[in-house]
Symmetry: D2
Subunit: 107 residues, 4 copies
Amino acid sequence: MNAIASFTIVPISSGISLTPYIAACKKILKNSELTCEFHANGSNIEGEWDDIFRVIKECQIKVHEMGAKRVFTTIQVGTRLDKEHKMIDKQASVDHYLREENRGLRD
Amino acid sequence: MNAIASFTIVPISSGISLTPYIAACKKILKNSELTCEFHANGSNIEGEWDDIFRVIKECQIKVHEMGAKRVFTTIQVGTRLDKEHKMIDKQASVDHYLREENRGLRD
Amino acid sequence: MNAIASFTIVPISSGISLTPYIAACKKILKNSELTCEFHANGSNIEGEWDDIFRVIKECQIKVHEMGAKRVFTTIQVGTRLDKEHKMIDKQASVDHYLREENRGLRD
Amino acid sequence: MNAIASFTIVPISSGISLTPYIAACKKILKNSELTCEFHANGSNIEGEWDDIFRVIKECQIKVHEMGAKRVFTTIQVGTRLDKEHKMIDKQASVDHYLREENRGLRD
């Protein structure tokens, strides 16, 4: 089952700067075979459901190993069966729609 | 790794009533060995990380099998290493704190 | 616009126990005129959109005032126009469905 | 109170393609004075707390006006008091950390 996930990891009680933890997770994601997009509030991951949740678990464990005693993670995950579901298409589809609208092709 | 998760599953494009889908997921959770709490906006699940994510995946597949072509799921998951982490203690701890505060034992 | 929200507030860098912060937010919610449900991973709030977001903001400010320098909050909010949307009906509807299913009234 | 939010809006029961709804929200965000970042799973918004929640409400109303009878929205919002909190700095800080690590300046 192919999926697109959004993932935010928050170590609690580890000081106010989360940078080292986020950096470690970014490395894990980049070293995975998954398609990832990094943004200001988390990471997007595209791939097989099991692969996505394996790297998320790997991040959770890593952040604990780095010293965070408590970790709070939010995940949003979408799946669809009607067509191949790709992150790159989601944004392209919205921008294509807006361009057509600007050209008067949509109301 | 023990965890406490909150889980909300939203079938898209399947009509406005989500009741049959939520009911099917509630059955899956109740039939699992996991400690679950059902509330108005989702379900809380307590147990081993892998067990939690296995039932969430089972729900996602079930909702697709019931006819939803697109499914959007949000998960919040917390882990802590300093002590056993139980849902029942989280609420009890808050209520104990408020009772002590009312009795003047806290400021 | 009537809404049902789920709300989780996480102070970061404030020690591993979040109990005092959660207790303070629970007091704010209980003192509001809104219908609230407290569960192990957050609070559900039912009412007017603006009222809901006013108490959420009040909680965010309170947690900062209590000493948290950084606060991370997740909110899920649902609105529907086809009928009055009540938390109590959401769970009742699922349980009614499961009872009918058990009695063979559903397949 | 300055904040950084992540925001995902999901119309339910409006067909499987969400593109027209997401496009309409993107227009609202672009026409606001707020700093926005668009990604595959939602939008990030930076600015005053009240301004952020005003545009989110505007999007929620717009999606209903376009025909969605039920709308499910998830929001993550972070605030910090110790320094000015900017989206551009969050990613830069992580990348700076990783570069230093690569150069052997971090272990």
